[in-house]
């Protein structure tokens, strides 16, 4: 009985613009490297004359570290027969996906009591008061449907903190903060929000919220 045919680790396809090397998503890096070296050697006879052939290296639905991707490109360009035009993958680069807004917020039903620390990976919505001595934290936005008397923190410098009644002990946005004692007296215990400005973290009355441009809220806020 004939042995079953194993799927190739590297599949080469010719196009008008040159060659595309498709790498199997199910193969290990070692398998890909060895087969790529073999295929490049086999192809050298056909492409020994003329300028280097432009090549696209297609990684499928995965990415390697930049060192490994460079190693694969070096194998392809050995001998000067191929020139890697592009390394392509059907996934978003990490730095690009980091910019995506979290699709949902964590909802916490309060009150958040003294000594408690509520953290959300994305945005945080607290339905209830945040008491003095309590801490709430979100990535880009913290919403408090109640009195914010404790500490609120958003990790992104572009983020904001909004509360129905703002008397926070500490507001932290990115790497800047505003101590509760520095919140203007006329804005305390009123609906308000905090953002990072050139002057650090500032508190504004809630009626001015719509005048700020917040990433991710496009289309949700009325135009002004």
């Amino acid at each position: 009985m004939a042995a079953p045919m194993s799927r190739p680790h590297v599949f080469v396809k010719g196009t008008e613009a040159g060659l595309t090397f498709f790498l199997s998503e199910e193969s290990s890096f070692g398998e890909l490297r060895d087969e790529l070296q073999r295929k490049v050697r086999e192809a050298q006879e056909s492409f020994s004359s003329g300028p280097p052939v432009p090549v696209v290296l297609h990684l499928g639905r995965r990415r390697f570290s930049s060192e490994r991707e460079e190693e694969l490109a070096r194998i392809l360009e050995e001998g000067g027969y191929f020139r890697v035009r592009e390394i392509r993958a059907d996934v978003f680069p990490e730095e690009e996906s980091a910019g995506f807004r979290m699709p949902c917020a964590r909802v916490y039903f309060g009150p958040v009591r003294s000594g408690e620390h509520v953290v959300a990976a994305g945005d945080l919505l607290v339905v209830g008061d945040v008491h003095g001595g309590a801490k709430v934290e979100g990535r880009e936005a913290v919403y408090v449907l109640g009195r914010l008397a404790g500490e609120a923190r958003v990790r992104e410098s572009t983020g904001f903190i909004v509360a129905s009644s703002l008397r926070a002990a500490l507001l932290v946005i990115g790497d800047r903060h505003l101590a509760g004692a520095d919140i203007p007296e006329e804005l305390r215990d009123l609906p308000g929000f905090a953002v990072q400005t050139d002057g650090g973290v500032e508190v504004f009355p809630y009626r001015e919220f719509r005048q700020f441009h917040f990433r991710g809220l496009e289309g949700l806020l009325p135009e002004v």
Binding site: S114, G115, H131
Partner: protein, 265 residues
């Protein structure tokens, strides 16, 4: 089994032991059998407030470690016939002498013979607090109208909820009506709103409580004082009665009324 209720606060000096002694006595006056457990091991003082300090033979640690049966350690309050008993704390051990598991077992065992088991918790939120809470099914949180006491009460309410004791009830102690009227003290309504729990009662600041405490007499036995009335009201609410909150506005003295009369002229 009787209701095991922990009386706690977080902050020290707000009147936990005084409240425990007075509520226990008031419940006994209303005909219930009550056991008071002093869980403040190493800082025993519930016995002093009840005037029972010279009658202690065994204590909570002796019972928890199995040296004596619980009944051997009970100190009976003769003023209440066979209705009020104290299980005193040890004064020579520390909080780690009794584990939360041992306390839970002890309360479960002793509760069958009583209508109420009131556990006087130590201040703080460390081991002693966790031990005191271990056997309780309900909680009374005592606070005073001071921001520090309110914050600590808030912390304790959160910890009680984590332990499955939801909806603890609140006693606001040492209210000074004249300060509240002048907005120099946090008001009752604001405290209830901040803490978000049901109010069980309010107790006015009454010098008689200090005098009685030093003499080992629960104030609730002295019927004519406002604090005594407040504790009796709280006890009746614990029994499920609907009792309106006391009016704490002070009636102006004759001299004040005369002075007001002449100042208007």
């Amino acid at each position: 089994m009787g209701h095991p209720i922990v009386i706690t606060s977080g902050k020290g000096g707000v009147g936990k032991s005084t409240t425990t002694a007075n509520l226990g006595t008031a419940l006994a006056m209303l005909g219930r059998r009550v056991l008071l457990v002093d869980a403040d091991i190493g800082l025993r003082n519930l016995d002093l407030i009840l005037g029972l300090e010279n009658r202690i033979v065994y204590d909570l640690v002796d019972v928890a470690e199995g040296r004596v049966r619980p009944e051997q350690a009970y100190v009976r309050d003769k003023r209440m016939e066979d209705r009020l008993f104290l299980l005193p704390a040890s004064q020579t051990k520390d909080k780690t002498a009794v584990s939360p598991e041992a306390m839970a077992r002890l309360v479960a065992e002793t509760g069958a013979s009583f209508d109420f088991v009131l556990i006087d918790s130590p201040a703080g939120i460390e081991h002693g607090f966790h031990t005191a809470v271990a056997g309780a099914q309900e909680a009374i949180v005592v606070t005073t109208p001071e921001v520090s006491a309110i914050r600590d009460a808030d912390r304790v309410i959160g910890l009680l909820e984590k332990k499955g004791i939801f909806r603890p009830r609140l006693v606001i102690n040492r209210i000074r009506p004249h300060l509240a009227q002048k907005m120099e003290q946090v008001g009752v309504e604001e405290i209830v709103q901040i803490l978000g729990v049901d109010l069980l009662g309010i107790v006015p600041d009454d010098e008689q409580v200090i005098r009685d405490t030093n003499q080992g007499v629960p104030t609730v036995l002295e019927r004519r004082f406002p604090a005594a009335q407040a504790y009796r009201n709280i006890a009746r609410r614990i029994l499920g009665e609907s009792v309106p909150l006391m009016r704490l506005e002070e009636t102006p003295s004759v001299f004040t009324r005369v002075r007001r009369f002449f100042s208007r002229r």
